[in-house]
Symmetry: C4
Subunit: 188 residues, 4 copies
């Protein structure tokens, strides 16, 4: 099976998720700068999730460059990833609306952690299919992936102690990944 | 006529349907785990429908692999399928909001049954066009399709007797289809 | 310039329009069949507009089969068509919510009439570009197009006399177009 | 890396943005022409933003015609542009809902200015990659780009003095760009 429709479907879902998040930025009642102030946490949460979904799109894009064929298992591993990504707008809205309260901040981390695990499963199922050796080489020991999982788990715990430390970890993971997987780019 | 735009349009519609369902997961008022509890039935209904739409996308994808050309009749059979799928978010939201009450659960089955019949009509119109013999062979006697129709009809009736039995049937049909049509995959 | 992205963009916009209309089908408060009854006009309006957008997608698809190249003018003629189509969900919701009251029914006709005129302009700009002679031949005297415009104008007027006659005309135009342009299919 | 998925993803995001703006046109309570009157500013703001997003799609389309390869930096410059465009529906809704009050009109200009700067950065990153010399030639001194930035800045200031002058400038910039970059079209 060829990968074109899987890529197109994933692009579609991620494009829609990234865009419907903006619907949470509700029009302020008044027409003043002050009326924008309550939107600040919602906006910050939006920016963070925009970057995360951008990262997923970007790395998905890069990874499938090194893939030639997909099978039923890969289709489902990909849908599983899209499922967790589809919960990002909900978690984002709750975190923003609650002004980064502990429980929503922890739930945000749970969703990111689940998406990261789903991505790892997708990588495994691509490698298991005996995919392109370039991909195996490019992924290597996947230090960035493992570090991200550890940071998400830490952030979920920290959310109940100091919510800003948790948010700082989410920002740090985003920064780690902002650079698309140069290993793949280089190896290709 | 070639099939590329039909595939792209179907992918677009299914990607959007799968994504707007998540808008039903409304942000809780409070920032506590308890505030998430009322969302449980909405979330479960979302997961079920996500899997169903994923199955349709998956099998649509597989089936059109075995198709080379489309005509006006096939375009409309495909739009007819998309119409019933477009009602899934509504039926899902009602079933979830009503905490799986009998009538919404039955309506959910009616929508799934209609979509399944529309899919069958699409298969027929592909075969009628004298399509790829591989497709005819792969579909065969379509036992899974016929079984699904029977289970949907049973579930619609059962919804008024024991709603959990009806929901169990919906889950069973989903599990039956979770495995993409290996017959097609094998035959191709 | 090649036509691929124009087709993809149009497919995307029409897929989204067709799908967001379903958001107007709001979840009923109660979990009974009676609670669905007030949704009937909204549902009927949805079905009609689903068919209309399906027709536009279908004929757009057919027409661009006969097109090889696009230029800036064609891009804008296409965007102009998409603009009027983008008002279909609004007009549909108003007509449905108002239970097919005269003014919303007339506005629905105005939107359909404008979209039909935008489609005619798009056809002209394709022909003006000295497009494929097959397209010119297939379009011919465009009787269906001219008849549709006349029927829309009649329906807009009739909406203030007998709203059901106006709606009947909308259904008739849809039926006229349900058959994709066989002339193009045949000529290609 | 090839540019297909970047184009598809951008097309998807812009198609969704252009379409969700229409959700701001809420169904009037009454079924009369007068009930439409309060929607006039929302509608005008919608038309303006539809044209702007159409322009961005159009010029994005044109520019990437002259691009053969993309890299990680270009992916992010493109995502950065999409981020600012994703704020257009919010700014449009606020400007329309507030009947073109000064602060929302200024914010609309800030979003347009940011999107224009993001577009400029995207152009630079394409040129920096040693892109197609045709692109460098076609962009030239980018007078239109520089003029637009100056007009946006003026409009933001003017919004607090005379809001209609600010809106007039937004319309003028749109008219300047309505003609897709003929330089690129000619040079290609």
């Amino acid at each position: 099976m060829d990968k074109t429709r899987l890529e197109a479907f994933s692009d579609g879902v991620i494009a829609i998720l990234i865009t419907i998040m903006v619907l949470e930025l509700r029009t302020p009642e008044a027409a003043s700068w002050e009326a924008l102030r309550p939107l600040r946490p919602v906006f910050l949460a939006y920016v963070l999730s925009f970057v995360y979904l951008g990262i997923y799109w970007n790395n998905h894009h890069h990874m499938f460059k090194a893939v030639d064929q997909v099978n039923g298992g890969i289709l489902w591993a990909n849908s599983h990833l899209l499922f967790w990504l589809s919960l990002v707008p909900f978690a984002t809205a709750w975190m923003g609306d609650s002004h980064f309260a502990p429980v929503p901040t922890a739930l945000y981390g749970v969703v990111l952690l689940s998406a990261a695990m789903a991505y790892t499963i997708l990588v495994w199922s691509l490698l298991a299919k005996g995919a392109n050796p370039r991909l195996a080489h490019a992924i290597g020991r996947d230090l960035k992936g493992k570090l991200s999982l550890a940071l998400y788990v830490s952030a979920i715990g920290l959310a109940f102690i100091n919510v800003w430390l948790a948010d700082a970890l989410y920002v740090i993971v985003a920064l780690i990944w902002l650079i698309p997987d140069r290993r793949i780019e280089r190896d290709l």
